[in-house]
């Protein structure tokens, strides 16, 4: 897979290149700031861009801005944003265009290289990868009479994994149950939360996240 990386700290940039190369991917460009990222995406048309939120020169959310700009110039480019901190609003901005193929993960996730690469592949294939911390933040700030209270602990677990962007098969594998069991849980969850969508994949993630963000 052809990958562009934007990360200003050389230590982490080199680490990411080594990690992805070790897993058989091809890092076609590794840059250190926002404008260089946009240029690299336009030039290389990568299968995915992995971007640090905080990049020079502004050292604020330059990386996110540049990633969104690159996605406008080369529509459909999958973007995985890495961040030292969890900010739900960053995830919301990424998801805003509803096109999918976005990810928002804590930098810490690179500590488990295989899982990390799995998520990179998921985003590159048009899926969604939302950090479990973001999902937890969304789940934490709930109201008193919350429909979520009607969920069983297992259903809650399934909801969290759905919000992170996992497919039914992946959830089943994670929880060590059959696909059929997960499908049943998903139907129950949608029923209890009043979500009427039979859509799979990216649209399902968006629906769940939207439900969690609103109200």
């Amino acid at each position: 897979m052809r990958i562009v990386i934007a990360e200003d700290l050389v230590l982490l940039r080199d680490g990411l290149v080594r990690l992805l190369t070790a897993h058989g991917h091809d890092v076609v460009a590794a840059v250190g700031d926002g404008p260089a990222l946009v240029a690299a995406v336009v030039e290389h048309r990568p299968e995915i861009a992995i971007v640090d939120v905080r990049l020079p020169p502004s050292q604020r959310d330059e990386g996110l801005r540049a990633a969104l700009e690159a996605r406008q110039l080369v529509p459909g480019t999958p973007v995985l944003v890495l961040s030292q901190y969890v900010e739900e609003s960053y995830a919301a901005e990424l998801l805003a265009d509803g096109a999918g193929a976005v990810g928002y993960l804590l930098k810490d996730r690179v500590a488990d290289p295989s899982d990390f690469v799995d998520q990179v592949i998921r985003v590159a294939e048009g899926g969604t990868a939302i950090d479990q911390e973001v999902v937890r933040q969304l789940l934490a700030r709930r109201r008193a009479d919350d429909p979520l209270d009607q969920l069983t602990p297992r259903e809650r677990e399934v909801l969290e994994l759905m919000a992170q962007g996992l497919s039914n098969a992946a959830i089943a594998k994670r929880l060590v149950v059959t696909d059929g069991a997960i499908e049943k849980h998903v139907t129950n969850i949608f029923g209890k939360l009043g979500l009427h969508t039979s859509a799979g994949g990216n649209l399902r993630v968006l629906a769940v996240l939207a439900w969690l963000r609103v109200d």
Binding site: L9, Q84, K107
Partner: protein, 425 residues
């Protein structure tokens, strides 16, 4: 109920009105307006030989230092006026303003842009008129009151034997005694109140002009506090940046390397060992970075061993050879120690980075309840406050503690940085 209560309420009021002449108040009022007359005459003289003359002399340049002296005298005099108002029962807090600035001109400018300076000057000019008016009113009233009360005692000295009261003239001593008894007390009470009024009018006017000091002090404190808050926010941002770019990033890299090593352990033990060696190095570097960062936030040695030891440790790390002579009789408040430490640290950073000095000396001592620290070097001088030298930040830190910072660095002649920090006692 009401009928019974009314005299109880009325009685003390009447008594207060009637007994005013028997208290010390009229005498204090008399002293107040008499001193006011004297002060007013001298103040008017001062205004002419002082500030007015200075402004005339400004063209000869002698006017500028003289102006600073005049401003000091004005403040000093106004403080006398504030104390005097206490005689009339209107206490005005004394002013302890200091005009900051590195050059004489800056200090004069700071003194002349201080609104209180002008208000004090206005008071000194008004004092002659106001003082004369209240003296005339007050002393006349006092003379009439006391005069009637003591009529029989001095009537003999009048040339024409007979005292004219209204339309009648009285001659007999008994009539005079009767007049003194009947008219004396009410007129004396009236006189005491007129005296009170004239003194109070003057003192209130003085208060209106010379107070407000509190408010100015609060504004000044707010400014210096805002400076301190800014300095703290900048400092926090720096710490966050250092953590983000340093230890945090290194730990992420470390976790990643260990993760990769774990995955490779079975398939590629040699590669795994290499990754672990890298991770080991990263871990050690992260430790060093965290230690440096913690020291930058607050050095442990400063808490444990005090300023001398902490500054000696700083000097030992400075690439320019430094001598340290800090003699303090006791431990100082933590805020003062910390401000002194970081001032010296910043000064040494400047010495190492910009000065090109070969030698540097650090001294610290208590002078008049101030901790005075000085950092001198023999470098190229020419320090500019704006040029990223961190001096503006230091000034904020020092002034937040009511201290003063002085940086003298003529081009080519070394640099002296002097900080005075009040440390109470």
């Amino acid at each position: 109920m009401c009928a019974a209560a009314a005299p109880v309420i009325l009685h003390p009021v009447l008594r207060r009105i009637a007994t005013l002449p028997l208290t010390a108040t009229p005498w204090l009022d008399l002293a107040y307006i008499s001193l006011g007359l004297a002060s007013g005459i001298f103040a008017l003289t001062f205004v002419f030989v002082g500030p007015f003359l200075s402004i005339m002399l400004i063209i000869t340049l002698i006017g500028i230092p003289k102006l600073l002296l005049d401003v000091w005298i004005t403040q000093w005099w106004a403080n006398g006026e504030r104390l005097r108002a206490g005689l009339a029962g209107v206490p005005i807090p004394l002013s302890r303003r200091r005009w900051r600035g590195e050059t004489l001109f800056q200090r004069v400018r700071s003194a002349l842009t201080d609104p209180m300076t002008w208000r004090e000057l206005v008071w000194l000019i008004l004092l002659f008129g106001v003082g004369t008016a209240s003296f005339v009113v007050g002393v006349t009233a006092a003379s009439v009151g006391l005069g009637f009360l003591t009529l029989p005692l001095w009537a003999w000295s009048l040339p024409d034997d007979g005292v004219q009261i209204g339309v009648t003239t009285i001659h007999s001593v008994w009539a005079m005694i009767a007049v003194a008894i009947v008219l004396g007390p009410p007129l004396t009470i009236l006189a005491a109140w007129v005296l009170r009024g004239s003194a109070l009018a003057q003192a209130k006017l003085a208060q209106a002009l010379l107070e407000g000091e509190e408010q100015e002090r609060i504004t000044e404190l707010q400014v210096s506090r805002a400076g301190a808050v800014d300095a703290a926010a900048v400092e926090l941002r720096r710490i966050e940046r250092d953590l983000h770019d340093g230890a945090q990033a290194r730990l992420v890299a470390l976790a990643m390397e260990i993760g990769m090593a774990r995955e490779q352990l079975a398939s590629d033990p040699e590669g795994a060992a290499e990754l672990l060696a890298g991770a080991h190095e990263d871990a050690k570097t992260a430790l060093v970075e965290l230690r440096e960062l913690a020291r930058g936030i607050h050095p442990a040695i400063l808490t444990d061993r005090g300023l001398d030891a902490a500054v000696s440790a700083l000097a030992a790390r400075c690439p320019v050879p430094c001598t340290v002579a800090i003699a303090l009789p006791r431990r100082l408040p933590a805020a003062v120690e910390s401000a002194a430490y970081f001032t010296i640290a910043e000064a040494l950073t400047n010495v190492a980075k910009h000065s090109g000095a070969r030698r540097c000396a650090i001294t610290g001592a208590i002078e008049h309840d101030n901790l005075v620290i000085e950092v001198t070097d023999d470098g190229r001088g020419g320090v500019r406050e704006g040029g990223g030298s961190g001096i503006a930040g230091l000034r904020g830190r020092v002034e937040a503690l009511d201290g003063r910072l002085l940086v003298v660095g003529p081009e080519g002649a070394g640099t002296l940085l002097r900080a005075e920090l009040p440390c109470g006692s």
